[in-house]
Symmetry: none
Subunit: 296 residues, 2 copies
Amino acid sequence: MAVAEELNFTRAARKVGIGQPPLSNQIRDLENEIGAALFRRLSNGAELTEAGKAFLPEARAILLQAEQAKQSAIRAARGQSGRIRVGYTSSAVFNPVVPAIVNAFREKYAAVEFSLEEAPTAQLLERLERDELDAVFIRPGSGDGLQVRCRLRAEDPMIIVLPERHPLSEAQTLRLDALAGESFVLFPREAGAGFFDDIIAACRRAGFEPQLAQSAPQITSIASFVAVGLGVSIVPTEMAKINVPGVRYIAIAGEAPAARLALATRRDERSSIIRNFTAQAIATQKSLANNNQTAE
Amino acid sequence: MAVAEELNFTRAARKVGIGQPPLSNQIRDLENEIGAALFRRLSNGAELTEAGKAFLPEARAILLQAEQAKQSAIRAARGQSGRIRVGYTSSAVFNPVVPAIVNAFREKYAAVEFSLEEAPTAQLLERLERDELDAVFIRPGSGDGLQVRCRLRAEDPMIIVLPERHPLSEAQTLRLDALAGESFVLFPREAGAGFFDDIIAACRRAGFEPQLAQSAPQITSIASFVAVGLGVSIVPTEMAKINVPGVRYIAIAGEAPAARLALATRRDERSSIIRNFTAQAIATQKSLANNNQTAE
DNA sequence: CCATGTGATACTTTTAAGATATCGCCTTCA
DNA sequence: TGAAGGCGATATCTTAAAAGTATCACATGG
């Protein structure tokens, strides 16, 4: 029936592989059942009535839903009670909550088909709205679309990285503005725009404009660049666990800048799988926070 | 199919009013199409497989959506949902029937998306024919296209406005030709050509050519211009309700000029939404007329 | 061990969907 | 203006899919 959008009964009938009279009958029967005309018959074809215009997208939705029903049955038969496609921006993995969430979910819902992809925040949001991803870990920026809902918020505290030979490298803590005159080793803004902007903003709040020197290809290689004396930097505290010879990590005194992290899903999401994922995310974050408290 | 939740083929078949063998066949065919078993056949009945469990809610959703599709088509056919784009010429709002119609329609058909635009009569008619507007309140002039149909006709009676200091300002009523030698305060013809022409025509019928003096920027500011002595004018009776100090409103004796008002739609209009709008317009006009009669 | 209830199978009947031929209507182009 | 061609509606016939009937095979439970 969704084929009569052709606006010509004869051609539409040919398209579905039946004759024109049976199609006319089908439409007549359908109109009788509904109790309203869907098409206005003209001398040179047909056009949709208001009712037809309203009915067409619904009809399409039904066909789509039928296909989904079939697919979900097939997946269930394979022992997979569903699928979730998770995206993350590269810097998100520095917050240990992200891998923890993913592991916890995969363990708890082993039957769910799980796919994971890395892309910049902006692209993640785009793909989320295009229904190509279901949940994305992002660095929230200014204009995150209204179509998404952020269900988890966390912050990655940062830490200063200095070369061993640096005059300040023996300090226990440093205020951020101690780095005012230094050259900064950062990463290409495209590799993590939200994260990048958070760092710059933190420096500005500390009262100086960071001087960007050499750019490291990835966030993980910043420490190596610092080690060979290309400048100083600030990185997520988590990265201090990676032992890079030739650098010193120094806690930040005063206002500690932090990179914000969020888990975004579609605002109108109804799938229970995805809801389970966000619930798992929140639970994992809480349990991780508790562990840290007790460990310290 | 959503009936096999009964967990017993025989009873389920009875429930849908067919025999057990046909139901078995239907389910076998469906399972073949999906490529997975939906039921596990037991000696004493049947139970849902994982695939079946996943399929059942989807199947229910399809039936629900089919019903929704039907309902939304019916609503659209009744004109209870959809969109209507209404235009009006600026002076139309002086006739209280226009806002009354709009309010009554929006209240009665709250689900209909309603847009309202102001433009000169000529432009309204043009946009009506180009299918950019659906119904327009206009001041009908000479050559209103043949493609439109006027479904409502009303008249705005007019009233004379004089400055308080004017020698005639104490009169109870005045014939229009008493203003023959006066300077008239009107408005730019572009602000309401049909209305403007109605005023000029009324003067000519009264036997004189009005002398146009200062032009007020809008119709509503005519009274203020009159108050400061820039001339006399005639305005819709409705405007006498706006209390402007320094003016006197005086009823017109003899042939009272009136600005004509019409509601135009496309001649070949079929949309029930728009028909509902014109019907509501006529009804509102009637009820308003009755209220006035009883009130006086 | 047989009565009972389950779904599957084989076959017939019925119904509804599709094919064919034709009609009436309107547009269009000569 | 009038014949041709394209449109959907209608009538009738044909066919294929759904439903009905009878029966089977297999469990279970008294």
